[in-house]
């Protein structure tokens, strides 16, 4: 099929913008990832060496990269289901006919999404402070001895997950709410006439009708959570003992702190490959089911 010249004329501006601001940088980054571009190369391009896949090979042999990958997977595996669960739960509650002051709660639950993470982090750091934090204060009354939330390598990531879930669930909640409202009431009416309980209605009407939304939300959330960066950046700077260092944070340090742009680009492409594979798996899973 050939497009008429006029059609090319119409898409040309968009293609040009995409090519210039997306495709070209991506190709340049790919090229960069095959070199050892660093501060010396910035000084003089004669110091630039073409290293082939050495950056990738070295990354795969760097323990810190694997640790960052492990942390990121931990964050995704624990964070995504938790986040979607909380979003869905709160959307169902808000959608329920029994809920009062709906618009108030909708706004309140969405508020974390639009607040500045930096401001939130200050408050959270105090909430989770070992000696003065409210969380330990409440737990203390329940007989739990103080937990060093952000300072203990075992607890820092769970705290970050909690922050990320709290910060982000409102966004998915709104999407769920919209698609809940799109389910025809007739279906529920028919089910009620047949005597179906609330739980059976949820299982056989609500969830199947939400499936396309669930797929969309899980893909978006997974891709987003793989790119964990801001939360550890403002809360723990990747510490303690690199327990909250994510792949993206690792890349940021390689690239913008140490100016090893070649190695940083390689990390970016490894992360891209990973997200691509996971998304593809999710899509396959969805296709198999339908």
């Amino acid at each position: 099929m050939t497009l008429p010249a006029a059609a090319w004329g119409f898409v040309a501006p968009a293609l040009l913008v995409i090519g210039l601001f997306f495709l070209l940088p991506v190709v340049a980054a790919l090229g960069l990832s095959l070199t050892d571009f660093d501060i010396y190369a910035l000084a003089n391009l004669a110091n630039l060496r073409f290293v082939g896949l050495a950056n990738y090979m070295r990354m795969l042999q760097t323990p810190l990269f694997w640790q960052a990958l492990g942390n990121t997977l931990y964050f995704v595996v624990a964070g995504v289901p938790l986040s979607i669960g909380v979003s869905l739960g709160s959307a169902l509650l808000l959608h329920s006919r029994l809920a009062c002051c709906r618009s108030f709660f909708r706004t309140a639950l969405f508020a974390p999404v639009v607040t500045s993470l930096v401001a939130v982090a200050v408050v959270w750091r105090y909430l989770f402070h070992t000696r003065y934090g409210m969380v330990n204060f409440v737990l203390g009354h329940l007989g739990v001895s103080p937990v060093n939330w952000l300072g203990d390598p075992h607890w820092a990531m769970p705290t970050i997950i909690l922050l990320a879930v709290w910060k982000n669930f409102g966004y998915n909640m709104v999407i769920f709410l919209a698609s809940l409202q799109a389910i025809p009431q007739g279906l529920y009416e028919a089910a009620r006439i047949d005597g179906a309980s609330w739980s059976r209605q949820t299982r056989h009407i609500t969830l199947p009708m939400l499936e396309p939304t669930l797929l969309l939300v899980s893909i978006l959330t997974t891709a987003g959570y793989f790119q964990l960066f801001a939360e550890p950046y403002v809360m723990t700077q990747g510490g303690p003992l690199h327990s909250t260092l994510s792949v993206l944070y690792f890349m940021y340090e390689e690239g913008f702190k140490w100016w090893n742009l070649g190695a940083a680009s390689a990390v970016a492409f490894l992360l891209f490959g990973l997200i691509w594979v996971v998304t593809w798996l999710l899509l396959r899973l969805a296709a198999d089911r339908s």
Binding site: N44, A46, G239, L241, W258
Partner: protein, 420 residues
Amino acid sequence: MLRLLLGALLVLLSACTLSNSERQTIHFWVMGHEGEVIAPLLPEFERRNPDIRIELQQLPWTAAHEKLLTAFAGNTLPDLCQLGNTWVPEFAALGALARLDSHVAASRVVVPEDYFSGIWDTNVIGKSLLGIPWYVDTRLLFYRSDLLGKAGIQTPPRTWQEWERALAAVKKEVGPDRYAILLPLNEFEPLLALSLQQDEPLLRDGGRWGNFAGPGFRRALQFYARMFRKGWAPIEGGAQIANVWTEFGRGYFAFYLSGPWNIEEFKRRLPPDRQGDWMTAPLPGPDGPGASTAGGSSLVIFRSSRHPQAAWRLIEYLSEPAIQVRFHELSGNLPPRRAAWRDARLSGDVYSKAFRDQLERVRPTPKIPEWERIVTEMQTVAEQVVRGGMDMDEASLALDRRVDGMLEKRRWMLAHGASP
């Protein structure tokens, strides 16, 4: 020639006032707190040099490094800049800094001998002088004299041995919930200072290889880790201590290894009835008063500057002892030259005394662009030793291996005759 004549004519015509277009404008980038407080010093300079106008730009420290490198890549560097002295080697490797040797040789204001030698040295890369120290930063002990007194320690420790005795005594006095010293685990300066006190350098063979498996660094690491293992120091990063000043006032720790800015902070933030209870002391060394870090900022001129002479005049002005004392009053920063320290406002301050003493014993870190990354890695390994109980031998060998990896490019450059 014609332009010169015209210019002279114009000056005459406008009766000594220069029109803006004929004044040289020099762009001056200043970072962080210094950027906020330096403005009142500049009008005096412009009054003395009516042909120079200063365009001041303030950068936050967190963004400064990136901004400078981007400016270098985009060829938009200013004429003159404040540069953390550990960044000098990096910008020297970029070839971005102008040599200042001839300026200094001709200057009557900037006298190298008057500067503390450890600080001056941080600006000399190879044989070139690339920056003039503006203010200094070193680390030493802040301590609670009342807590030490209670523990039976009358004078601050001068050697490691005395220090250990003092730490043990204080810890015994304050009990399990409080500590003898605070060494925030996310800060590399304490361990770095202890390592600089050793005779062996931290890198060997002209900065080609790490020397962390050598006995010098191992001794420092051992001493550092011991302070945690004995329970003298809390195993905490800075973020976990919500407010060091309050905690110091409450006696959560009795020693604190920190820098000059905390003199002002403690004066301001400790309650009045605590003011008599704290003091500063030089850093104890393995045997006798020890060395410490030579931090701080320098003033540099970029090679791309079109007004290096005017920029140099500003450096000279900011280096005048009287101006440095005023700068100290505005910022709390310590001057890098002895002449400024003779002023009563500095020599009369009891808390600054220890710093004056320490400044004679500051040592620069290896002057290579990779240093900042190396020292970060050093602290990572130290944290693993302290927190995770990593074996000391294993730690120092692992550190050397990683450092050697970071220096691979540098070795390649040196082998190919390039000067990094």
